[in-house]
C-alpha cells in the first residue's frame, strides 16, 4: 500500500501543495484511493490526475510517483 511512500510536497516551489504517492509492490489505484480517500471507488480521480504517466488504470509500476489530488 505504499505506507513508507513520501507524502510530502516536493519540488522547488515552496508553495507546491501537491501530495504524491510513490508506487510500491502490491499497490493498485483502488488501494491508493482507499488509503487517501477512504474509498477505493474514487480511484478515477487519481488516474485522471496522472494521465500524463498512466495509460491504463490497471497498469501502474513500482516507483512511479503519482499525484494525489
Amino acid at each position: 500500500m505504499g505506507e513508507n511512500a513520501p507524502k510530502e510536497s516536493s519540488g522547488s516551489d515552496e508553495f507546491d501543495a501537491t501530495q504524491y504517492h510513490v508506487v510500491v509492490k502490491g499497490d493498485t489505484l483502488w488501494k491508493i484511493a482507499q488509503k487517501y480517500y477512504g474509498d477505493g471507488s474514487l480511484y478515477p480521480s487519481i488516474f485522471e490526475a496522472n494521465r500524463d504517466i498512466l495509460k491504463d488504470p490497471n497498469l501502474i509500476k513500482v516507483g512511479q510517483k503519482l499525484r494525489i489530488p
Partner: protein, 198 residues
Amino acid sequence: MKRNLVRSCILLLVSIVLVSACARGKGPAEIAIKGAEEAITTLKAEAVKYIPDEVRSLEGALAAAKDKFAKGDYKAATSEAQAIVDKAKGLVEVAKSKKEELAKTWGTLSAGVPKMLAAVQSRVDILSKSKKLPANVTAEKLAEAKSGLAAAKDEWGKALESSTAGNAADAVSRANAVKGKAAKAMELLGLPVPAGAQ
C-alpha cells in the same frame, strides 16, 4: 523724579532688547515649522500606507514643536522642526524599501496561496464523494476544513481587492491570513503543508 525716569528708561530699554531677541527667533522657527509640515506632507503621500506608525509619530513631534512655538520657545521649536525634516527624509527611504518588500511578498503569496486553496478544494470535493473517510480524517475534520476553505476563499477575494486598490500592506496581511487558514485545512485533511506555509 529724575531717578525714576532713568529707571523707567532702563526698564524700557531692557524690554525692547528682550522682545527684539525673542522676535529674532520667531522667524526662523516659523520657517522651520513650515519646512517640517511640508516634509511630512511629502512623506505622507507615499509612506502612510507602508509606515503609518512612523508617520503618526512624526505628526506628534510636529504638534509638539508647534506647541513650543505657541509658548514662545522658538529655539526649541526650531530645533525640533529641523529634526522632523531630517527624520522625514530618512523615512522616505524606509517607506521605499518597505514598499519593495511588500511587493515581493505579495508576488510570492499571490502565486503560492491559490495553489494551496486549489489543493484543499480538490481534496474536499473528492472526500465529499467518499462513502467512507480515510483513517486520518473524521467527518468533523472534513466539516471544519470545508468551513475553513470557505472563509479562506472569502478572505482571498478581499486580499485581491486590496492589491488592486494599491493597498499592498493590507493585501499581504490578508494573504498571510489565508495562508494560515489553508494550512490549517490541509492539516485537517491529512495533506502535506507546503514549506512556504509552515
